[in-house]
């Protein structure tokens, strides 16, 4: 009864848009597709919707071969990153459009639409024209349309990316609520995004996609704690995880003439060269720390992002207060060595502060 994809490959030109992608999605669950722009997220969703036909591989749903069912009979719903609604219809007509296509009874349509409008908070906007709505409201209409359908597969393709910061935060909160309360256990929800924070907050099963290939699958917590390789560590953290090339000795880690006491979880690692990973939030300002030069300081909200440099190594540190820095100023920082990751020379995770589950 699941949505199952086996070895799906889509290569319309000389580049892979999907490269041997397999998955098994269960009803009532939330799946997030995490990947950078052009990593194949939209292709992935469009393939499930039936808008694209993969070159090879199988796609089945409820034990039926999905590839034989045309888009309009698949009973899926999709919300695009652009706010796509029918401009010639008002809000109410937009939401009943898919219901009318399915020839539901008038009463059924009425209750479904009201429910959907209530969920997205657009009661009272029924007769508005789409053009009169703000971006956030337009996206709510699109969401209401896909919710009212009660489709068995709901696809959301970066639904928040074109909204401004404030609205994104607000809708993200509401999405979380809608997904946890409003969704039926019959629905498979697939949500794509470039934003690691969204993935963590939605807390579903994550698929990390890059250049059309699945890099890692697992619960959000697992992706956060144990990114399988450098690529995943980069994609699943914002700012990306800092990577420092260095040498592990029996008692310390050495990079850029800095020596740090080796953390406990590294004790079984062989003494050799590694890529050490550390999150931006695990770097603190400390007068007794190591000296780095500031390349750029960005203030965002209540935080300050410091782009630091020493020798060939570049770092980003996340300081949890607003501070003013001058460019080329020298600052001293300290690493929380308990939170160091170690990736081997080919980029695979060999040690994590949370312990590696798969050995």
């Amino acid at each position: 009864m699941n949505l199952i994809g086996e070895n799906i490959t889509y290569k319309p030109d000389d580049q892979f848009h999907l490269n041997d992608v397999s998955f098994n999605f269960k009803k009532g669950n939330l799946y997030t597709i995490l990947g950078r722009t052009l990593s194949g997220k939209t292709t992935f969703l469009k393939t499930i919707a039936g808008l694209l036909n993969p070159d090879s591989g199988n796609l089945s749903f409820e034990e039926k071969d999905f590839s034989k069912i045309p888009v309009w009979e698949r009973n899926v719903a999709m919300v695009y990153q652009q706010f796509i609604n029918y401009p010639h219809l008002n809000v109410y007509e937009n939401i009943i459009f898919p219901l009318k296509q399915r020839k539901l009874s008038q009463d059924q349509i009425k209750t479904d639409v009201e429910e959907a409008l209530k969920t997205v908070g657009l009661i009272g906007f029924e007769n508005r024209k789409i053009q009169e709505l703000s971006g956030g409201q337009q996206q709510r209409v699109a969401l209401a349309r896909s919710l009212a359908k009660k489709a068995k597969i709901l696809l959301l393709d970066e639904p928040l990316v074109n909204l401004d910061y404030k609205l994104r935060e607000q809708l993200r909160e509401e999405f979380k609520k809608i997904f946890s309360e409003g969704m039926s256990q019959e629905t498979i929800l697939i949500y794509s995004t470039t934003d690691p924070q969204e993935v963590m907050e939605l807390n579903g099963e994550v698929i990390v996609l890059d250049e059309g290939k699945v890099l890692q699958k697992g619960p959000a917590k697992e992706i956060f704690e144990n990114p399988l390789n450098l690529k995943v560590a980069e994609i699943s953290n914002d700012p990306p995880m800092n990577i420092l090339k260095g040498l592990k000795n029996s008692d310390d880690l050495n990079f850029e003439n800095i020596s740090i006491k080796s953390p406990k979880h590294f004790k079984n690692l062989e003494n050799q060269n590694y890529n050490f990973g550390i999150r931006a939030s695990e770097i603190k300002l400390d007068d007794n720390g190591e000296e780095f030069e500031i390349e750029l300081a960005e203030i965002s909200g209540s935080e300050t992002l410091l782009h630091l440099k020493k020798g060939n190594s570049k770092l980003i540190a996340l300081i949890e207060e607003v501070m003013n820095f001058k460019i080329h100023q020298k600052v001293k920082i300290n690493f929380n060595s308990n939170k160091f990751y170690a990736f081997n020379q080919s980029g695979e995770l060999v040690s994590s502060p949370y312990g590696i589950n798969n050995g």
Binding site: L51, W72, R74, F83, I84, Q101
Partner: protein
């Protein structure tokens, strides 16, 4: 600076308006004159300069047997040919344009852009190049000097315009709109007429307007492909000019020839400013 700009703007608009409207006023005035008023001296204002008469207009509706020129039949012929050809061009052109905008065609080295160019290329050639083929073609199928033959030829002339405008229009309608319609349960035909078409009204109006204008003003093919059975308005108007130039009826017929276009322009202007697509689609 602001004032100077406003002054220059209004001066320019005024001069331009005079430039455009003056010939019309001249034609209106002349259409109410008789032989005497045209040829004696320069006159402008009715009742003051000359005694107005309806003779110039009356001639147009009188049958030739009673000394008239009867442009009523050519007038309706023109309306029929222009409207029929425009309608067929818009219907076929819109379908072709949608296909060219949404689907990918490959036939040897031919791609979508080549097909679009093929349509437009029909209009790049000077019309005289097509005159002999059209003549031979119509005479072969026995449609020379007939309304149907003219409709066929005008479709060939007008459809490229419709295709050209609509391809450009559909290219600006996001593909995601069609896809959403498909996902919402429309088959491709329903997606086209339930979603894409209602959102293409501004484009359809522009294309329709161009078709009607180009069809209505064509003299060349109407002149070459008809003899006595069927006459279109532009040919009839030009034919008024014999050994004596009847300025009065010529002016009157010129005025009623452009009247439909003026009406179309006013109607279309209202629709275009209401255009419901602007800002709705990102």
């Amino acid at each position: 600076m602001e004032k100077l700009y406003t002054f220059l703007k209004y001066t320019f608009i005024t001069l331009w308006t005079v430039f455009i409207v003056a010939p019309f006023l001249w034609a209106v005035s002349t259409s109410f004159k008789d032989f005497q008023s045209v040829n004696s001296k320069v006159t402008y204002i009715p009742w003051l300069d000359f005694e107005p008469t309806l003779e110039g207009w009356r001639v147009l509706v009188k049958s030739p047997a009673r000394g008239g020129v009867d442009i009523v039949e050519p007038y309706f012929n023109s309306i029929f040919v222009t409207c029929t050809a425009s309608l067929v061009s818009i219907v076929l052109g819109t379908l072709a344009a949608y296909a060219l905008s949404r689907f990918t065609f490959k036939a040897g080295f031919v791609r979508n852009n080549d097909i679009t160019f093929f349509f437009i290329s029909q209009r790049i050639m000077p019309p005289i190049v097509l005159s002999i083929p059209f003549f031979i073609f119509l005479s072969t199928i026995g449609l020379l000097d007939s309304l149907l033959g003219l409709v066929v030829v005008y479709i060939v002339l007008l459809m490229p315009i419709a295709v050209w405008i609509m391809v450009d229009f559909f290219n600006r309608v996001p593909k995601e709109l069609d896809e959403t319609a498909l996902i919402d349960g429309c088959n491709p035909y329903q997606a086209f007429y339930k979603v894409v078409l209602p959102n293409s009204i501004p484009g359809l109006i522009v294309a329709g307007m161009f078709c009607i204008i180009f069809g209505w003003i064509d003299f060349f093919f109407a002149f070459i492909l008809t003899f006595t059975e069927v006459q279109l308005l532009p040919v009839k108007v030009v034919a008024l000019n014999s050994s004596i130039t009847p300025w009065w009826s010529l002016s009157a017929s010129a005025l009623i020839s452009v009247a439909p276009l003026i009406i179309v322009a006013f109607v279309v202007e209202r629709y275009l400013s209401k255009g419901n697509l602007s800002g709705a689609l990102k």
